[in-house]
């Protein structure tokens, strides 16, 4: 049969972010495909070498557009490791609240994104409306809706405003009460289920071959491989939560893990708000002159569990006021590039957006 070349993205309702998938199809079966990144390349790794340690705070959230807080956390953790900074106890809990709120917001967005390729836009509108409420909470806490620049080396920028706990509790209760509705609308819905059940598989061997982490890995290997459990950072060792797993990774189970994680995140935030001690929220760095702050020599890799997997920063310092080199490990790098090249062929064209959505591909962190 004649092969036809098609472009999925960069402007396509089913494409996430500014990348394009080149597809060679026979009929509606994909025979060859590869990702063409680079439309969002902004030279962050070079840019970070030209900014001071603290100036970089304004740059790093932009590495991943929809989930900026993990960047701040990974960068802050790396710098703290290099400079041996002790973070105040309260700041750890504030960070966890922010990170888990961000996780809920991205899981909602990704779950809503399921609505695009399956033609169920109601789901997307509901999910985005709830995500908007999280952005309102972020705005009250940090002053920004999307790029918060809240988590900085040494702690967080400032304490929570008075009364924000009520807003958070109110939102969490609302979300929890609507949780079954979300399930019924999405993955319990027969029209959606027909598309995602036993479709878009990710076997365990592929997980190890590509180096997929996060939801994809946990849905295939049936073990709680979550950095929050395996290698706890902040105070994740102090709170109780489960890591949902599966031993059979189709699109439906990966979406189900995301929804279960949403419930766990709600629990983590409640525990954090309860256990949070009072006290300072930011350790002083560099004698208060953060712009002339020098960080001791060294090379560290710091990583956090993002919604798509292990998200890391490789930070090199030569003892100066600027980082010598900062490398970003985007969580979706393995499945986004090698995964699309090797394992997308064989699926149908209309399942390609579902493939990208449920594998968790985020193009800004591939481009950087």
């Amino acid at each position: 049969m004649r092969q036809m070349k098609l472009f999925l993205g960069p402007q396509h309702p089913g494409m996430h972010g500014n990348a394009s998938v080149h597809i060679y199809a026979e009929g509606d079966i994909i025979k060859r495909s590869y990702l063409l990144p680079g439309m969002l390349h902004r030279g962050f790794e070079k840019g970070m070498e030209r900014h001071t340690w603290m100036n970089n705070i304004g740059l790093i959230p932009r590495v991943c557009v929809v989930e900026p807080d993990i960047n701040e956390m990974a960068f802050a953790m790396g710098v703290e490791m290099l400079a041996n900074i002790e973070v105040p106890e309260r700041a750890h809990y504030l960070r966890m609240v922010i990170l888990e709120l961000a996780r809920i917001s991205i899981h909602l967005m990704s779950y809503g994104g399921l609505g695009g390729p399956t033609g169920l836009y109601t789901l997307m509108y509901h999910a985005h409306a709830d995500r908007n409420r999280i952005l309102n909470i972020f705005e009250k806490i940090t002053g920004h809706r999307v790029y918060h620049m809240y988590i900085v080396p040494g702690g967080v920028r400032k304490d929570f405003p008075v009364g924000i706990e009520n807003d958070i509790h109110e939102f969490l209760n609302d979300l929890e009460s609507r949780y079954t509705e979300y399930r019924d609308l999405g993955i319990e819905n027969p029209t959606v289920l027909a598309r995602i059940k036993d479709n878009i598989m990710l076997p365990e061997s592929v997980v190890w071959e590509l180096g997929v982490t996060g939801v994809g890995m946990r849905s295939a290997v049936n073990k709680p491989y979550d950095l929050r459990k395996v290698k706890p950072y902040a105070r994740y060792s102090e709170v109780e939560f489960d890591v949902p797993v599966y031993d059979y990774s189709d699109a439906r189970n990966r979406v189900d893990i995301k929804l279960n994680e949403l419930v766990q995140s709600i629990g983590i935030i409640r525990q954090c708000l309860e256990k949070m001690p009072t006290g300072p929220v930011r350790a002083k760095v560099g004698n208060g002159q953060s712009m002339r702050w020098t960080v001791p020599k060294g090379q560290v890799y710091s990583c956090v569990e993002s919604s798509r997997g292990e998200f890391g920063y490789y930070i090199v310092s030569d003892g100066g006021t600027h980082p010598y080199r900062v490398g970003v490990r985007g969580a979706s790098y393995p499945q986004g590039l090698l995964g699309i090249e090797k394992y997308m062929p064989g699926t149908r064209i209309d399942d390609a957006p579902l493939w990208i959505d449920t594998m968790g591909v985020c193009s800004p962190e591939i481009d950087r």
Partner: protein, 198 residues
Amino acid sequence: MMNSMNNVEFLNELVNSKFNVVKTEIINAEQMSFIVDSRDVHTLLTLLKTSGWKQLSYLSAIDWIKEDEFELVYIVFNWDRPVHIQVRTRIKRDRENASFETIIPIYPGAKYYEREVHEFFGIKFPGNPDFHKQLILENWDDMPPLLKDFDPRAYSDSHFEKRDYPEKHINLNNQESKQEKRQKRNLKSLLLRNGGKK
């Protein structure tokens, strides 16, 4: 559950007994680095992979221009014994011919990382079928951009037209610009801090 410090000791013994490691750094209980000779990298990575460090987390390079060397960094991770290992090695900083054998046979996921390193540092990876193809930088016509002697300002000056702004946008009503004001203020505060001495 195994104690995490034991993991580091285990690794230290495992690697140092079999390899001539130039330097071992223990960063904390969950991260350590082995600096090895470039000939040992592949065997060391093979040993680590068979010992359970099955995941390649990151692969990149650093340009040490003063020492005239590239440093290659491989980070591997084991989910059952949570220690991130940096395997680092240095190769000669040769702009045209710097090359290093690929690790695709050990970690297939390295394919695109190596392509990216080639694009941003110019290091060749023989054995990787696609390392020379362009990935992120479309139609790039200058030296690889993450080299330390690449100057982004000079690049943009030579590649993009300089825009002329009307005088009124630069200097409103002959007032000092914000930058000049800030410079003056900084100078003043510096003088105050030094007790009036320059």
